[in-house]
């Protein structure tokens, strides 16, 4: 031991801290809102410029939209004069009295006014079916499926078209319109396309060459052509193919077209689900002696359909948007009623079109966005259940 070291060792420290100093907070620039801003909005000069540009753009767009929908909008009035700049001498936004007056037409079309309660009941029954089927904690969801795919279509048909025997006055489908038709077309597509799609998908994966090739031809043919041509086919060719006295009415023809189209797309979605089922499931089911029908019903389809629920819902969203195409073959769906109403001389102004389209946009956005949120929630749920 050298001298110096010994002396050092002997020197008593005046103070020894026994407890650790509390860590200093990170610099203000590295935490909280400031850090977040710096990392996500202002990280580089380019990003700063981009952020400023987008902020300005958003601010401009938002104020314009707000101005149109709320600030400059007209809230009351009886005819087009209320929404004309030349009459009101101010900038005019959306023309809400037009929507308000035409709302019943947008919802029911020309359905006879005293009978519109039947449409309301139909909406209610449909809502019950949808909640029953989609709400995962609902009781007896198996009964819900039977209700939705079996009972509901029959009840709705009787309710909407009428049945003299039980005192419901018949209503010609020509009078239907607006949201009613949009919902009817979408529901028929939804209710028909799933079972038909499953059959087609199973047919496509069948080992019987005739069944397989017929399924493939049908699916690929329908998927290869635009929906409009399918609707035209159903609209103008179908009446030729059946005896004259059985010729279906216009709405039914459009429904057939939609159903054919949706089934082909659904078949591919279901097929993807079937392919995701490992071979072992098939082999296991066969090993315990299940026949084809039992194998599919009890083992494969329940799994395949669960896997593919998000895709099924996405197909439904596409279908819901595609229902607008019946417009082109002369069915009065929501979009068509808006088209008719906006050129009505009573309300025709420069802002009427945009107002009408805004209403339609909100309607479709709410429905489609709702469905896509549901699909995403199901996906997240599945992802969670797959985790160990």
């Amino acid at each position: 031991m050298t001298m110096a070291e010994g002396e050092l060792a002997l020197a008593e420290p005046a103070f020894v801290r026994r407890t650790p100093i509390a860590p200093r907070p990170p610099p203000a620039a590295m935490t909280g809102a400031v850090a977040w801003l710096r990392a996500n909005l202002l990280s580089t000069p380019f990003n700063i410029a981009l952020t400023i540009l987008i902020t300005l753009l958003l601010a401009w767009a938002m104020t314009e939209i707000m101005k149109f929908l709320v600030l400059d909008a007209v809230w009351s009035g009886n005819d087009r004069d209320a929404c004309l700049e030349s009459v009101q001498h101010r900038v005019i936004g959306a023309c809400w009295p037009f929507v308000w007056e035409r709302l019943p037409y947008f919802i029911y079309g020309s359905y006879p006014i005293p009978l519109r309660w039947r449409v309301d009941v139909f909406f209610l029954l449909l809502a019950v079916g949808i909640v029953w089927l989609l709400w995962l904690k609902a009781p007896r969801r198996d009964l819900g499926a039977i209700y939705f795919f079996g009972v509901l279509p029959v009840m709705s048909f009787i309710l909407l078209t009428g049945w003299s025997a039980i005192g419901l006055e018949p209503v010609d489908s020509v009078l239907w319109g607006g949201v009613l038709v949009t919902i009817v077309v979408a529901s028929v597509g939804i209710v028909v396309s799933l079972p038909l799609g499953i059959i087609l998908a199973l047919g496509r994966r069948s080992r019987m060459p005739v069944v397989r090739s017929l399924s493939v031809i049908f699916i690929e043919f329908v998927r290869g052509v635009p929906l409009i041509t399918v609707l035209f086919m159903a609209g103008v060719m179908l009446p030729l193919f059946v005896p004259e006295q059985y010729s279906p009415d216009k709405l039914v023809r459009a429904l057939i077209g939609i159903a054919i189209f949706a089934s082909a797309y659904m078949a591919e979605v279901v097929r993807a689900g079937l392919q995701a089922i490992p071979r072992g499931q098939y082999e296991g089911a066969m090993a315990v002696g299940l026949g084809y029908a039992q194998l599919m019903r009890l083992i494969v389809l329940p799994q395949a359909l669960t896997v593919t629920i998000p895709n099924i819902v996405n197909t439904y969203i596409g279908l819901f948007k595609d229902t607008t195409l019946v417009f082109i073959v002369g069915i009065f769906d929501l979009l068509r009623t808006i088209e008719v109403a906006r050129i009505d001389p009573k309300w025709a102004t420069p802002v009427t079109s945009t107002t009408g389209y805004a209403v339609a946009a909100i309607f479709y956005l709410v429905f489609c966005y709702g469905m896509s949120r549901y699909a995403r929630a199901m996906e997240a749920r599945r992802a969670k259940s797959g985790r160990r």
Binding site: L50, V211, V236, P243, Y357
Partner: protein
Amino acid sequence: MPSDLPAQPRPARVAFYNDPKVRSIAYQLILCAVVVFLVFGAARNAVDNLTRAQIASGFGFWNQTAGFDISQTLIEYSPRASTYGRAFWVGLLNTLLVAGIGIVFATIIGFIVGISRLSTNWLLAKVAGGYVEIIRNLPLLLQLLFWYNAVLKALPDIRESIAIPGGVILNNRGFFLPMPVLKGGLGAVELSLLAGVVGAIAFHIWARKRQERTGQRAPVLAVTLLLVIGLPLAVFTLVGRPIGFEFPRVGRFNIAGGIEVLPEFVALLFGLSIYTAAFIAEVVRAGILAVSRGQTEAAYSLGLRPGPALRLIVIPQAMRVIIPPLTSQYLNLTKNSTLAVAIGYPDLVQVFTGTVLNQTGQAVEVVAITMLVYLVISLVTSMLMNIYNSRVALVER
């Protein structure tokens, strides 16, 4: 061979109706019978109905005079002299025109939005996400009607036309662009353009070979631009600019000169591009996310900046995932262009399945031809994309 083993009992013969083979054949025969019965029934009814309605059948109408006008014709067409067959080609070309330009725009917007959704700039990512959510959840038809009726038809009329610098005129009759007028001496320019393209391709091949041999990179982009654009431009100036522009002029009731772009065309192009771009953006985003993060990190650690890393490392790998769904989006755009009928753009469906069908009444032939056209487009596109796909597919070792 030991013979004292008990003889295996022969499996009991399955009754023939339980034999899977017999059953399968029976099912297929029944299905065939049903299909044949339906087809024959439909055909018989069709013949009955057609004779009763006194509608001709067959394709004889193809060579009859059409007698109706079409608002946009890329090939020569006159209502008096041209046939239904000619109208068909006019419609088909219009469809291909709007689909082709729409695909280009949709791809550009789609890639920009898709990459923006993954940007580190939170605001940009959210705005791109909002674009995708809103556009995807609105029916295309609604968007088309909006662009056509609420935007383009709301433009000022001819007398108050908006003049955009560069000689473009905008009003509710459409867009009017300056039309290039060709004068003599253009042959040299065309020749130089051809030479430029050939030279660029040759340079490309040489540059790639040299890079494979020595690792040195050649300024491919600059040389290509110089050869393809610079050379013809130089020749163009040298021979005395043999191109003039005829600018549209605003008249009292009409616009004279220039190229007229129909508002229907613009609305359809806007609608299709913006709608499809939202789907392409999702495809692009999924494709980029499919490239593992390690690739990006490796690129950064090699010293590549984010831009080149995206361009040289991520996108080429993402393209493999992107191409197949991108193809189906292109096909969707082409099929969706049939919505033109709602705003009156003279595409194949509007001209052929609309007007020709109404005039001739020959529903079966007309609808069948239309469907065939789209089927052929679908099949050809998927064939081309399959070829491309097999070329870029991952070669696994």
